[in-house]
């Protein structure tokens, strides 16, 4: 990876398929992740989008930021729409109605569309084995409707429906591990990505596109608006999320887990929390509890990786 840092601008394709002119907020890491994902996938790609920030900001008729065939149907069903597109293409190619070509079918949903309202649809599409990629862009709340909590909101975060107050420390539940749920579908490829690590993201998307069958990508994406943070820290916070073990980067390829950005010494989680207004209210004891659990979770990932390496 080190050598990539030097030649970064030459190693990513110049072409953009999610183009300038979209209406994303300043510092939005979702749209950054998406742009990188499409650099990796290239032009032979068809996109199905859930309702959400990325749909709203990229498609206000008569404008569009998409240089790809793109379709939006509803909130919960982007995975299923993509599975339908894939099935249609599969049948038409097999029957000789259209030429045989390698096309990437990709569906996007936010954390609400993936972890909450659309969990069934994503699960169904992954289980049925369609040759497609599902990407959850996780900004840890319903940002499009004004920062309401989802099941992917981290413990302690203050949102408009899990507000911190005299009787509340913010979100009272631990973040739902959707990546693990998707890995439990025994699909060929599952990975977490983060736009602050563009080459890690790029390689994982290329792998996801290459596998025969479904791939699930969980994209950690900060939302400065909803996280109450400075927009110029958008890339830095992605780095901090990995270094503090808040959002480790790993992949599960044919059931084998590999941590792609190993952490030698986990950074104090305070470094991550203190730059976000959504965690401003947290007491030291709660921060300590968060840190303990994050460490446990990261150690569990390491242990699984070591166990699987040993078995292999």
């Amino acid at each position: 990876m080190e050598k990539f840092n030097v030649f970064a601008s030459r190693l990513l394709p110049k072409e953009d398929y999610l183009c300038s002119g979209h209406r994303a907020c300043q510092g939005c890491a979702e749209v950054l992740a998406m742009r990188l994902i499409h650099k990796a996938l290239g032009r032979n790609t068809i996109v199905a989008s859930a309702t959400g920030c990325m749909e709203i900001i990229s498609s206000p008729f008569p404008e569009t930021a998409w240089n790809l065939p793109w379709m939006h149907v509803a909130f919960e069903n982007a995975a299923t729409v993509a599975s339908g597109i894939e099935s249609g293409y599969k049948a038409l190619m097999r029957k000789g109605r259209i030429p045989q070509r390698k096309i990437n079918f990709i569906a996007y949903g936010g954390d609400g569309a993936t972890a909450d309202i659309g969990l069934q649809w994503v699960s169904g599409a992954m289980e049925r084995g369609h040759n497609m990629i599902y990407v959850c862009y996780d900004n840890e709340a319903y940002m499009n409707t004004g920062i309401q909590r989802s099941s992917s909101t981290p413990f302690g975060a203050s949102t408009t429906t899990s507000p911190a107050g005299r009787e509340s420390d913010g979100q009272a539940t631990w973040k739902k591990n959707v990546t693990a749920i998707m890995a439990a579908h025994d699909i060929p490829y599952v990975a977490t990505v983060n736009p602050s690590y563009p080459f890690d993201l790029f390689q994982k998307i290329r792998k996801a596109a290459a596998v025969d069958g479904p791939a699930y990508i969980h994209a950690y994406s900060c939302c400065p608006t909803g996280w109450r943070m400075r927009t110029d820290l958008a890339v830095q916070i992605g780095r901090l999320a990995v270094e503090t073990a808040v959002a480790p980067l790993y992949e599960i390829e044919n059931g084998k887990l590999r941590i792609t950005q190993p952490i030698e010494k986990i950074r104090p989680v305070r470094d991550y929390l203190k730059i976000q207004g959504r965690f401003r209210h947290l007491k030291d004891t709660i921060i300590d509890d968060i840190e303990t659990r994050l460490h446990q979770e990261y150690r569990a990932l390491e242990a699984r990786q070591a166990r699987e390496q040993e078995e292999a």
Binding site: T64, W70, M71, A74, N77, G84
Partner: protein, 397 residues
């Protein structure tokens, strides 16, 4: 060539979809539709039909997958009933707004609650505003013939809308009927290959389903309204072409023995067949009564209907659904809309019959006829009535 054989209607309908060479079937099991998609799954499994069968995890997903498949430019088919149709509700509007050609068979069944798997029209009548073309078949032959007709209507470049084909659950879907089934070759002469006007294409990317702000939403709705109203002419033309090719002519509105009828019964679906038997007996006895039924329900063939009932003094309208606390049954509401303000408009007696699988017998028509006859003889028009209620309308149960 087509042969006449005894077959369960669901199987004949599935065979017809197979002969239409559908590319994608996405479906979820629900009684009484299930035999249709089961048979399609076996056609695919046995190699008789080259299609992707997508066994989704809910009806909402079935309709979502159909949207994707139609947008890919594949000929798309699904079937559902009742709760399944209700679960699709959200996506139905979008399929029509995106102008996605597809055919959905609805074996009509009552909506919960209480949960009930038997026939009435509450499932389809609560979906009147979704923007789909909707047709009702009264028997298996018609249901089977309408499958290729629906695909051709849906895919016609002048139409490009999803089409819903309704017939009564169990009463039609599970009936074993003598059906003259068109062969694949015959259907091929009637139904050309699907040539989508627009598809998600990597060589010609476009954005499907964008955000419609207040500055364009009204225009988008108007475009949809124009599209479905303008589908009337192609529908009639396609009905005629089918008749010219295969000898069975279908019309948007059907009339039965309405010549000189003072009282006309108006209804949809399979009870028309019982009603025809009853009308034959009435006509033999010299009673001037006939039947008019809607085959095409959306777009509403208002002019055909007006012509069909011209001269009648009383219409007895049989609904299979009603709006609680509202203006009665949907067919009656829409007939009133059609006739309001016209000269010599007939009086309207509204009844709701056959809810949740309650059988409708010839004696029920006798009873309804008496009400209509009283109005014909000058009695005031009664309010809409839920008939067949033990203890009577608003009576003791």
């Amino acid at each position: 060539m087509s042969v006449r054989r005894g077959v369960e209607v669901s199987i004949a309908v599935a065979e017809a979809a197979g002969f239409c060479d559908v590319d994608v079937v996405a479906a979820y099991p629900i009684t009484p539709q299930t035999h249709i998609v089961e048979h399609l799954a076996s056609l695919v499994a046995d190699g008789h039909l080259d299609a992707e069968f997508v066994p989704v995890e809910s009806e909402h997903a079935a309709m979502s997958a159909c949207c994707g498949s139609a947008a890919a430019g594949a000929r798309t088919f699904t079937a559902t009933s009742s709760q399944g149709l209700a679960l699709m509700h959200e996506v139905l509007f979008i399929a029509a707004a995106l102008r996605l050609p597809m055919v959905m068979v609805v074996a009509n069944r009552a909506l919960s609650g209480p949960i009930n798997i038997w026939n009435d029209h509450s499932d389809i009548m609560t979906e009147r505003d979704v923007g789909w073309i909707a047709l009702f078949a009264e028997n298996g032959q018609e249901a089977t013939d309408l499958v290729p007709i629906c695909h051709r209507i849906s895919e016609d470049p002048r139409v490009q809308l999803p089409v819903m084909l309704n017939f009564d659950g169990f009463i039609v879907s599970h009936m074993i009927e003598p059906i003259e089934q068109l062969s694949k070759e015959e259907i091929k002469t009637f139904l050309p290959d699907f040539a989508p006007v627009q598809r998600l294409d990597i060589d010609n990317p476009f954005t499907m389903g964008p955000v419609g702000m207040p500055n364009v939403y009204t225009e988008a709705k108007m475009a949809g309204e124009h599209a479905i109203r303008a589908s009337y002419e192609p529908i009639v033309e396609i009905f005629k072409d089918f008749g010219d090719k295969f000898g069975r002519y279908y019309n948007p509105v059907e009339s039965y023995r309405t010549d000189g009828a003072d009282i006309i019964f108006v209804m949809m679906g399979a009870i028309t067949e019982t009603a025809m038997t009853w009308v034959d007996a009435q006509r033999d006895a010299g009673t001037k009564v006939g039947i008019v039924r809607f085959r095409l329900w959306r777009p509403l063939p208002a002019d055909d209907f007006k012509k069909a009932v011209a001269g009648a003094k009383v219409l007895a309208i049989l609904d299979r659904h009603f709006s609680p606390g509202g203006p009665g049954g949907p067919v009656a509401q829409e007939v009133k809309y059609t006739l309001y303000g016209t000269d010599n408009a007939p009086k309207i007696v509204e009844v709701v019959v056959g809810l949740g699988g309650r059988d409708v017998f010839p004696e029920d028509f006798d009873d309804i006829y008496k009400r209509a006859e009283a109005v014909l003889n000058g009695a005031p028009v009664p309010p809409f009535e839920l008939t067949q209620v033990r203890g009577g309308h608003y009576g003791k149960i």
